[in-house]
Symmetry: C3
Subunit: 270 residues, 3 copies
């Protein structure tokens, strides 16, 4: 696909989301829940946060996508994620997993691996350290990656190990799966200065999965459109507080400002 | 009451709140808790979020109003709401209920009905779908209303069924109770582009209930002042991220910018 | 130390934080968690929120500081705080406690006292009412101080009673401990118009504790730099929503805009 074609695919997916307003069921952490809900609305989708074991299966079954994020996990929340995930799987609702802080504590690593083994996750997204921890490499301190692994290799290892599309995000994002490796060159360093920027990227992926069945492509389009909005929000180098508000403005404006700036490169595959 | 009189009543209530700084006890969802606390401060009231069964009764008993919101409910939280609600009732503290997502899952519908049956709720506020679900009509997907019910009729049905003031919010808000139907023509479509706009409307009602005993009128004044602030925040059609920050600015400025723009119409009653 | 020397100490600590990016483990309330994470990033440190008993000890042991905040406490969360606190103590990680709403309910007062008695807290920070409640004076309504105690005396009483550095914040902040009383004259009334301003002050203290061992001085530097950022964010008297975004901008800019404005006075001691 050429750059123009990716831009066209992006706008087509954005329009599909805005027209169909898919319900996105997030089970996410308490730090970013407001930002993730607002991002989902910005894309034109309909967010719902539902965590109770009494209701998660019912909610996930009617969603367009289920986004699981272990950023402030608890034992009970992992059980709710499993309930929601099984219902999503039965209803063919795609599931995205964000293993926040995997590698930082055993509880996070083991919980992420349990979700990966028990649920048919469609997309796994994390930073180099988190995804690396799940395949036995990678270093994490708190929720941030440290160390010098090649993010492309980390993504390839996880995609092969777990048999799913993996996105490793960083200065360049790599999406690996279905015989392809895509590199996304959108984004801005200011994303690293606000909390939840990774969690929002995960949400963007879940939202875009509702628009087409090509999981690797939709993952790349989610990251590219989100990164493009970040580039625009960063114009004039605002402080992180102002950037955070503008990021939401720019996500909501994407259908009008256009997607000509998405920069996706095929590194391997069709 | 004429338009001028509503504006006068609004400014009087806003002043009453700012002078008395009533404590508003919120048991609300994790998505909007920061926005709701900041809105409460914007009105000049004093927010407190307290959820633990060990303390909710003690906190609710000394509050000016208790706002219950089931947006991210759990079984334990519903029990805490019942404890808080009974203490509020015993101390004659008015209770407002926001049945977020009622109709979307059985757990939400049943929990909202349980709160309505076991507590002397003063005001019930939701969208057309949520309130409709509680009276056996209405359609909800996630936390958003779908379907074509007349919101006025939905409000009337709920007010009659549960014997309380009901506010059904949407493009026009309807407040029904005490033999009256009031229509509030304030607000802006941008409210639908940010998360928690309904939850903040519920908080505005709880805050205004502390200023006067006319529950239906204070409910209308809460919605009208909040909607008026939204209109001002929407000037120049900002993106939703910027709008969200300005909304709080405009709520906090209401006592100075004035309430001449409140548009409340009596559709039925005195 | 002269004013120039405090400014120099402040910039040295800010640089230390930015270079070392210490991990700050927050166990905080759901209202402010996003703001606290963003503030931590603004200072150049690395925030992590971890609450599960399965992981808090592991996370706290590798942190640069542990910040405990009981703003939306639960019985389970207090147990997690004790687990985290013991691990922090064993690893010589300094602990800061924010007893939000102590005095407002017995559960809050008793939980704060339990944490103070069972953990080697380095710094206790609260408003006059909260700290007063812990030493038997003080009045709190919700989470706000009421009444007329001298904040200096309240800080001195708590520092003596619990044998730690105490910060009582308000129009002027007082830091007492190690034979010293410091008065910090930075800050702005707009801080009182946004939720979480006290919680963020506590986080600023925890962050600055990672840069030097002089606990009283680092506490004062945390409050002074945070207050200085607030003064700059308040330029032009924005509304609270805009102020909240700008506060984060100004915190993140401190290393570049400088610390010449920090105003710390020694009232007692070296």
């Amino acid at each position: 696909m050429s750059g123009t074609n990716y831009a066209t695919a992006a706008i087509r997916s954005l329009t599909h989301v805005a027209v169909n307003q898919p319900l996105i069921h997030h089970i996410t952490n308490v730090v970013v829940t407001n930002d993730v809900a607002n991002l989902t609305l910005g894309y034109g989708a309909s967010p719902v946060m539902a965590y109770a074991p009494e209701e998660v299966a019912e909610m996930a079954a009617v969603a367009g996508a289920l986004c699981l994020n272990i950023g402030t996990l608890s034992a009970g929340e992992i059980e709710a994620m499993l309930l929601a995930g099984r219902a999503a799987a039965a209803a063919r609702v795609p599931i995205v997993l964000d293993p926040v802080g995997a590698g930082a504590t055993r509880f996070r690593t083991e919980s992420a691996l349990r979700l990966l083994h028990e649920l048919p996750i469609a997309v796994l997204r994390g930073n180099r350290g988190e995804i690396g921890a799940l395949v036995g490499s990678g270093k994490v301190r708190g929720v941030d990656a440290v160390g010098g692994e090649d993010p492309r290799k980390v993504a390839e290892a996880a995609a092969a190990r777990f048999g799913l599309v993996t996105a490793v995000t960083g200065p360049v994002d790599f999406v690996v799966g279905g015989g392809r490796t895509l590199a996304i060159h959108n984004g801005h360093p200011l994303l690293g200065r606000i909390t939840g920027s990774g969690c929002m990227a995960t949400a963007a992926i879940g939202i875009m999965l509702t628009a087409d069945r090509d999981i690797a492509l939709q993952t790349a389009l989610g990251l590219a459109t989100y990164g493009l909005a970040a580039e625009r929000a960063a114009a004039g180098e605002p402080g992180p507080g102002t950037f955070r508000a503008r990021l939401l403005d720019e996500v909501a404006a994407l259908r009008h400002t256009g997607t000509a700036g998405v920069r996706i490169e095929v590194e391997r595959g069709p």
